[in-house]
Amino acid sequence: MSPRGALEVSARMPLREFELAVELAVAPGERLALAGASGAGKTTLLRIVAGLLRPAAGRVAIGEEVWLDTAAGREVPTERRCCGVVFQDYALFPTLSAWRNVAFGMNGARRERRRRAEELLDRFGVAALADARPGSLSGGERQRVALARALATEPRALLLDEPLSALDPETRRDAQRELHEIVGQLPIPVLLVTHSQEEAALLADRIAVIDRGRIVSEEALRPAADPPGR
């Protein structure tokens, strides 16, 4: 696994009605929830970290590695950031089976990729669905495949955009617990955005509330545990 480093983000960007101006840092193994109403700039910030959006000014770094530094004119493209993203509706490739979705970011021979993809699916309890297409999976199953896919590249950081919003309330309870377990064991910085404070409280070590582009309050929920495996 690549060396661990904290995720440090600062970004300024004019949005339609206000300016996004955020600074935050997430330690390795820490889970930071960005909570706030929709349209507060949460997803925009996530996209900036992933490299899908360039802010007017900002810096994104993971440990020693600088992904973006507008002042220095440096920008690493999304595909070379190795930043795992779980999209809001999971954005699973509809024409590919679950294992192929997971193996998409892997290198190596087909057999080896399949073996590793199945291992990951197995870890998330959906190995039996390796050959199923996303269209035939339930919301909870999709979430697990999306998580497996995002982690398959051994990313330096994991971003989750409203990871539970696509689920119905019943599935959500179980999915929330599973997500908590999986994400809690990761040795990398995890940044998740959610509009639900309750969800944030269950999944994160620390909550930052964002309103109209600014972080208005921060609260540590539990002491940032030492990342496992250290």
Partner: protein, 273 residues
Amino acid sequence: MRLRSGFGLLALAAAAIALVFLVLPVVAIFADVSPGRLLDALGEESVREALWLSLRTTLIAVVVVIAVGTPAAYLIGLRRFRGRALVLTAIELPLVMPPAVAGIALLAALGPNGILGGWVEDAGLELVFQTAGVVVALVFVSAPFYLRQAIAAFAALDPRLLEAARTLGAGQFRAFATVAVPSARPGLAAGLALAWGRALGEFGATLLFAGSLAGVTQTAPLAIFSEFSRPGGFDAALALSAVLILLAALILVGVKLLGADRAVEDPPGERTR
């Protein structure tokens, strides 16, 4: 929609009329041509030549249309840029252009005295009265059918799929080839069917631009007209028409099957990266 209402019955009648009107001429051709005569017609050298030429030229034309049209449609479908509406209109213009006008336009552009005529000659290309000219005419009239559908199919893609591919390390080409094209496949196949069908039926532009030389530029539709104009040639024209209908139907069904979402997952020819 309820059928047992005034409007329901009216719509039902309209659907029946449309279907009969569209199917009747096709049925009439096969009612007039016995299978024996169909085979006889296929035995004729000139008929076989025309069919083979049609098959060859349309195949080359659709390959060119797909190879150039797919990445072009991807770009136009995904990007919002100034003048996009104008570009879309320009692409659709050949759709509404009378085929004869298309032939004249191609002559004016690429003919010996056309604006690019000198350049075509310098490049050692001969188009007028040549098979290559047929392909050019076919590409011109059929490309808009493919482009229109392909642009719509790519524009309807969930942009997050492409973003997801990028976060997983895929460069632009890989995202295009492994995510965008497979997801847009039904639309691409529909466009391909229309384009191929249009190319197969092409008449006016080919005639004016490439002429109607048997074995060189006389495709099946031109051969049908040539037989039809010959005294006593109606039978041969009818038989050739029947074959052309079968061919077109075959292409339509084949391409539709290609676009259908397959239940079986593994694509043939698995790549190993």
